[in-house]
Subunit: 285 residues, 2 copies
């Protein structure tokens, strides 16, 4: 037990924060002037290959794989260096979080932020990965489930288990319990099912895979043993099926600036970018 008593009015102590102290602030808005780069394609994505970023690049690659005729530029937003607080990024997403999309296919640029809002907008535009019309309520339920649930996994469990400056027992227990409950929700739902909604692969699968699929594949927070992810066998089976898709493999690489060097494609401007060895590219820069 602690004997901490909160003050009457909270004030900002800039010493307190842990690994992401420099990226967490109690105020919004830009910290510096910086224009976003603009490429030649109709869609300009500003992102990083965290689970929220990967959702959108997986969908972009799936749409292209399925033959939809468009292309996109994906620019790296380095959140550790505060790129999300540049004036251009804040204009694209006033919430200063990746991913942000600027759609330049029309007369004037249109911003879209929040990963699932971007996904739903693109899927509706191309009439793809939405499932059958009669499955739309179930698809939307799971798409929104992911958005409301993952903050407990990422901002809750991941933060307190992996990133906070001290290991606090109560928050770790709270969020480990919730992460396991969420995995069990998915595991029960996927019993005898191939996909989250209806009988086809939808944006709900992509969104949930990016967080919970990658969690059971052992890629998040070094927590596979702690959460006993292997016990959620239906989730593992479903996650492996999605992970094997060529578009998913490409989507994971886009805007990746951490982890295995061979998976890192810092920026993407063409389908041929995946063919170039990224280590050679970096050496040439």
């Amino acid at each position: 037990m602690t004997d901490y008593t909160p003050p009457a009015v909270w004030t900002w102590d800039t010493e307190n924060g842990g690994k992401f102290a420099s990226t967490n602030r109690p105020i919004a808005g830009p910290t510096h002037d910086k224009t976003l780069p603009v490429g030649e394609h109709p869609y300009q994505l500003y992102s990083l290959a965290t689970p929220n970023g990967v959702k959108v690049t997986v969908l972009f690659e799936e749409l292209i794989e399925a033959g939809h005729d468009f292309d996109y530029d994906a620019w790296l937003i380095n959140i550790g260096e505060g790129d999300q607080f540049g004036s251009g990024f804040v204009e694209a997403n006033p919430n200063s979080k990746i991913p942000a999309l600027v759609d330049r296919s029309g007369d004037a640029p249109v911003r879209i932020f929040e990963s699932a809002a971007i996904m739903l907008t693109l899927a509706e535009r191309y009439g793809a990965f939405l499932g059958k019309p009669e499955d739309r309520p179930e698809m939307l339920s799971w798409l929104f489930w992911q958005m409301g649930s993952a903050p407990f996994l990422g901002g809750g469990f991941g933060h307190f288990y992996a990133y906070a400056p001290e290991k606090l027992e109560y928050p770790i227990n709270r969020y480990a319990m919730e992460a396991k409950r969420q995995l069990d929700v998915l595991n029960r739902h996927l019993e005898g099912r191939d996909w989250m909604a209806g009988d086809s692969y939808t944006i709900a699968d992509m969104a949930i895979w990016s967080w919970y699929g990658q969690l059971v594949l052992g890629r998040l927070y070094d927590a596979a043993e702690f959460l006993d992810v292997a016990s959620y066998a239906n989730v593992v089976r479903w996650a492996e099926a999605i992970d094997a898709r060529p578009a998913v493999k490409r989507g994971r690489m886009v805007n990746r600036a951490f982890g295995e060097p061979e998976l890192q494609l810092h920026e993407r401007h063409s389908a041929s970018d995946f063919e170039t060895n990224t280590e050679d590219k970096r050496a040439a820069e």
Copy 2:
């Protein structure tokens, strides 16, 4: 600092949990058999007047106020008594959270869960409160923003500030900072604007109002002074405008089983239910 070291594999300690210990579990699925009641209207809502519940009842009441010809039954789910773990509720929402909707207007019942999925489904069905087509990307961005942000306010700030069994300084600071950042995002966006997206009141306003509007109106967590909510003047102005709407007043009452007795309408089966004094009703039960 603590000297806590997490175990290799997390296990369930049923002693740990705080105010909501009985409602937090590391497993999904039903704990008991219980069929859900079914009324005579096409929509059957199973909910509680927390911010996530109020979003949907506000939308239902706004649709009816706007003249759309349908009605709904709203049944109380008492989460303190574990109603969300009954077999019927779990069938309607495998995530065991309120609200859950069962649409009985078609040949077979269709479930929809997650508050914003319910809102988007209803708004699209009636073509109402969606804003102009050209504002859809902005409206969806804010609708999803609410879903991804409020877990930091409710499950984060509210839990550690108001409900956790001990006051922990680091989590309270972490989530107070984020709650204030989110309020500042809204305050900057609402500078010179009446509504969140475009020039009309949409489901994004309803969803964000239910959490952040009610927060600045002093209704959540007794935290108005701590978070200095009055300093977010644009949010307060916008919140008061929404709060004055007759449909919002009614929506707040539906499935309310806590707080001021005169605001409590435990169940709603007809528009005339609001005319009955609820204290008289309870006395007559």
